[in-house]
């Protein structure tokens, strides 16, 4: 099946074919057995892709099932005295918030970082060739949460690789440093991930959060404003707004 024919079939099945071409195509489909066979194979190929996609989602379902085991809500009947204590605690909390507004309280940067930082899992390791074994070793160790080993392998990979592999090495090196509390080193690694790439977007967000963790609010705000002004970071806009609202300006 030629590339051009693939395009035609794709256009036809997605309804993107111009009406006059569509009429011609359907006429041909009825009279040309080879074309009909190609369309049939194309549709089956598409179904195989959906099947593989479903298998992938099923693997996510398996993980989610294990992760949420034992988290079902349990109904607890509390005695009136306990309810009274809860009400008193809430009243005290409200009083505290009124007397000490947000601006005058110490901002817990670690807590804020933990709330907004979500690590990207190292699923891409499966795409690597054997020749990239150091990178694979780094990603596997990252996945297994052996962060020190991951840092050693990924640093080695970052020194010897280029292109997309270098990008991957630096990105997961940054995340490994984050996990081991080496936030300054994480900043340097994330900064090496090129802008405009998928990992570049996540890196910029992680850099902003790393500055938050380091209590460097001016730098954090600058990163967040850059994210906010760039449409490519659309998925982070809402969260950037939230953080810009929370972080002190000084």
């Amino acid at each position: 099946m030629s590339d051009e024919l693939q395009d035609r079939i794709e256009q036809y099945l997605s309804g993107e074919m111009a009406p006059h071409h569509k009429v011609e195509f359907e006429q041909e489909l009825i009279t040309n057995k080879q074309l009909a066979e190609n369309v049939r194979l194309y549709m089956l190929a598409h179904a195989e892709i959906q099947f593989a996609g479903r298998e992938l989602l099923k693997s996510y379902a398996q993980k989610a099932y294990q992760a949420t085991k034992g988290q079902e809500k349990k109904t607890i009947f509390l005695r009136p005295m306990v309810w009274g204590s809860i009400a008193a605690a809430i009243a005290l909390l409200i009083l505290f918030v009124i007397l000490f507004p947000q601006s005058s309280r110490e901002l817990d940067t670690d807590e804020l970082f933990a709330e907004y930082y979500v690590p990207h899992s190292a699923i891409e390791a499966r795409n690597l060739d054997e020749s990239e074994h150091v990178l694979r070793e780094g990603l596997d160790n990252y996945y297994e949460k052996n962060y020190d080993k991951a840092i050693a392998a990924l640093s080695q990979a970052a020194d010897s690789l280029d292109g997309a592999d270098l990008l991957l090495a630096n990105f997961f090196l940054g995340q490994s440093y984050i996990e081991t509390g080496k936030t300054e080193a994480a900043l340097l690694s994330f900064a090496k991930v090129s802008e405009g790439s998928l990992y570049g977007y996540v890196s910029r967000w992680n850099i902003a959060l790393a500055y938050v963790r380091l209590n460097k609010m001016k730098e954090a705000r600058e990163q967040l404003k850059t994210i906010r002004s760039n449409p490519n970071y659309q998925f982070y806009h809402r969260k950037a707004d939230e953080l810009l609202e929370i972080l002190p300006t000084e």
Partner: protein, 197 residues
Amino acid sequence: MSSTFQPTNPRSDRDIIDAIKAGGRHKEYAIQWLMEEYGKFMHKIQKKYGLTEEGVQDAYTDAIIGLIQQIEKESFRGESKLSTFFYRIFSNKGVDLFRKNSTKRINTVVDMPPIEDPSKNILSLLDIEDEIQNLNGFLDNMGDNCKQILLDWGFWGYGMAEIAERAGLKNADQAKRQKYRCLQKLTKMIAAAQELE
């Protein structure tokens, strides 16, 4: 919420819907997030309908696919919370499975390619309904690169530039050529398997 899947935490139903409609990485992250976020429903449905672990995971997967389809077709109009809407779909899948349990057969959801209504009559001549019920999992035999490219393109809806980046290819043109080759390889595998039957 702790996460193992995605680099972001959408905060509203609108975030999720927009991300799924946008396709590509937004869709992938949103679906991964959804699957983890709604995961707790599995235990409730499993208990309610007496399903096996495997069975409830199947029903959950199919319910997520159903939700994606409803969002993409704009059938979900936001009259209820997305989680409520999903729970309804999932509950229906649970009931279906409960009813089918006597035959111990689980039907998976694999959709036909998007086909415009006027074409359906012509395409019905191709008679592929039965074959779609007996898929082979050929993508697993294609090598990681082809599998990733075809999934990115045909399942997640990534653009060619992003596919190039994810697959370590030079540019969108190279990704497109690779996609052609992978798709061709897949159709040949399907054709060869059918000749053997």
